[in-house]
Symmetry: C2
């Protein structure tokens, strides 16, 4: 079987978000065990002008659902971005994965030349083909936010390692 | 044109390592301008048991050359891992990109079912098909290290942003 647009996107999202959900469990458990206020982890950031942990997780979700929706020509599911606990972030990931799984591979495959335009918060519009969007925008952004979420918790002393980041082998 | 193993690997490597090389320039320039010892940035890490900046860069290089070599059935170029300055890290990236560019797309394409086995430093051997290796191991690891390198410099106060991470639009 040759590589396809669905095979290059959905399994990566599933692997990384499943891993991130398990990391959220560890973080919640660790905060409880050590008597740390969960808010200290949830609001932690690596630099004053970087997004905090909560936002890194919701942005990973945004890039995941945006990727699958745009490539398959569907509307992007809107979530409220009100998460403020580990439990709520886990629900956010679960909703994201449920959407990703609801889209059949065949709806994503063949999207290499699909026109994709994205309006940035700055007002600028980026235009891509489906393949260029996937490789040069969606995947790097998605990985950026899952990695930075992990890096924040490592920086705050959570005892997790690369295996937690990678998740179980699919 | 439909997505291929080369199109899902080489352009992503090129984009991210080109961006990382420009970030190294900014870091060197910033250290000089602010009178910071470059070693303070090069040896910085986000947690005591995480790799320092230098190693994040060399590991991004390792995953990039490993990916292209394994998928194309070539020997992985061996570099000495002795880099200790921004300039040497830039040379490491340049050597990595030169290797990646030297491998023709046709040597990587069709590697979806290729048997790939990796001996980890722990002694454990991981076995993959080419596609599973690319999606579930090589790309997440590659992105992990380029993102963590960026995160370390952001944490140390370097004035870079998401556009530096993403690099110029190919």
């Amino acid at each position: 079987m040759s590589l396809s647009m669905s095979a290059a996107s959905v399994p990566a999202i599933t692997q990384m978000l499943t891993a991130l959900s398990a990391i959220l469990d560890k973080a919640a458990f660790d905060a409880e065990a050590k008597g740390i206020d969960p808010a200290e982890l949830l609001n932690a950031r690596l630099a004053p002008d970087m997004f905090p942990f909560v936002r890194q997780v919701t942005m990973a979700s945004d890039h995941a659902k945006g990727m699958v929706a745009r490539l398959s020509g569907r509307d992007i599911p809107k979530f409220d971005d009100t998460e403020s606990t580990f439990e709520e972030l886990k629900e956010r990931i679960a909703k994201t994965l449920a959407f990703v799984k609801s889209v059949p591979a065949i709806a994503i495959d063949g999207s290499e030349e699909r026109d994709i335009s994205l309006k940035l918060t700055s007002g600028r519009t980026l235009r891509f083909t489906g393949q260029s969007y996937l490789i040069h925008f969606a995947l790097p952004n998605f990985y950026f936010h899952v990695t930075t979420a992990y890096d924040i918790l490592r920086h705050k002393g959570l005892e997790i390692g690369k295996r937690d980041f990678m998740g179980p082998r699919p």
